[in-house]
């Protein structure tokens, strides 16, 4: 398609959009728009459109045309109702009738809404109760006034105290935990999982199990599962190994229930 023809087509579609919009916005007669003619125009240029801008213009023209068809449908629907009347005839009547006559006719068709605006005894009692409990305004304002304080800088220790910052970063904590694991293993290669995470309290045990799970995930250690013996060992690495992307990793769910912790604790004491 030559650029000249494309330009002509775009202008044609823009005119279609403008016509449809003016019908919609200015309440013109929707039957002034020849729908068949417009569809023919849209169909004629459609196979030639390539760029998104051209296709958007085409879609807008179709959308505007659909709105006009809807208006035509509404018009037919309205015409079939008992409310339909020739607008010119009605306009003429309105123009010819005096203000007094118009008002008198309107009053025959007007049935205003009736509503009551009255306070009830219950509302009055509630309002009195509220009023009795209400503090004088100078006292209320006193309560909401601001306390002026000097601005200053806070320290890291203070933030740690307020629990806004942790004492150690998580990675620091993980490294300390890894060192502890290496020490506990000693000359051995591995240690029983429960012997490592188990602590005097159940909550501490949960915390240690949580950190141990990160030791394994981040490649500081690995788990060795002996399903027949129902034993799990944790084995530290000398250097952290990143397994991500190198090897298919698996998740091992380990239950740390209160009963299991009790069982472990009793076994340790015996």
């Amino acid at each position: 398609m030559s650029s000249k023809r494309k330009k002509l087509g775009s202008e044609h579609l823009q005119r279609v959009i403008d016509t449809c919009k003016s019908v919609e916005e200015r309440g013109l007669d929707p039957f002034n728009v020849d729908v068949d003619d417009i569809i023919e125009v849209v169909r004629k240029y459609f196979p030639e459109w390539e760029s998104p801008r051209e296709l958007l213009l085409d879609a807008e023209a179709i959308h505007c045309l659909a709105s006009v068809i809807k208006l035509q449908g509404d018009w037919v629907k309205h015409r079939s109702t008992s409310l339909y009347t020739d607008p010119f005839l009605l306009e003429e009547k309105i123009r010819r009738l005096s203000r007094e006559e118009l008002a008198r006719l309107f009053l025959e068709a007007w049935h205003p809404i009736i509503e009551l605006e009255q306070i009830s005894l219950h509302s009055l009692a509630e309002a009195m109760k509220y009023w009795d409990g209400l503090l004088p305004i100078n006292e209320r304002w006193l309560k909401t006034s601001y306390l002026e304080v000097e601005t200053g800088a806070t320290t890291r220790e203070e933030l740690v105290k307020l629990r806004i910052l942790a004492e150690k970063t998580f990675l620091e904590e993980l490294e300390v935990f890894w060192e502890e694991l290496k020490q506990r293993v000693g000359g051995e290669e591995k240690i029983r999982y429960w012997d490592f995470i188990g602590a005097d309290t159940y909550s501490e045990t949960i915390k240690r199990a949580y950190i141990a799970s990160f030791l394994v995930t981040y490649g500081y250690a690995t788990l060795e599962v002996h399903p027949l013996e129902e034993e799990i060992f944790i084995k530290p690495f000398e250097k952290p190994k990143s397994m991500l992307g190198k090897k298919q990793t698996i998740s091992i769910p380990v239950s740390i229930s209160f009963e299991e912790w009790m069982k472990w604790k009793e076994g340790k004491q015996n």
Partner: protein
Amino acid sequence: MKRKAHYARNIKRATHLLFYRRHKQPGVKGWELRKRLGSDYPKVVKILDNHLENLDLQVKTVFEGEKPAGEPTLEQLDKARFYITLRGGLTPKETKMMGWRIDDIAGLATTISYIIAKKGKAPREEIEKLLRNKLPGWRVDINMNRYIRSGYLAEDENKQLYLDWRTRAEIDQKALVDLLLSKEENPK
């Protein structure tokens, strides 16, 4: 006897609900009546409507969208809004007591009937031009804003005027158009 007491109690409840404004707009939705009066609220409303007839009042039901052709379903009633309105018409003297001048009423009549004739939507400019034939220009703008504020008309961003909730509740649109068309003009 128990049944009678049940309806008497519910009619009182319905009267309170319908007469006192509880929301930004007056009137009560059908589902609200069902919640407070039970599933037989249409019957309660009907009995109340009969009671109100002696006082020249009525319970007006305004449905969402068009009025159903036959008996409305419970679902349609639940979505409808119920108002108490005057059953008969007003006299010009009575409208003065309500704070409406004859100019205001004539302007409202013209605006509403013009919008009905234009299939429910008309440009504000066109209506204002029509009103300026008989009313001073400064009054036209004030009145138009008053009609919008009261809920008779709604205006969109393109300055098109529509009939709003109060027109649907208070005005018998078909009767208005019929009255206008059947009016014989007085020979001048």
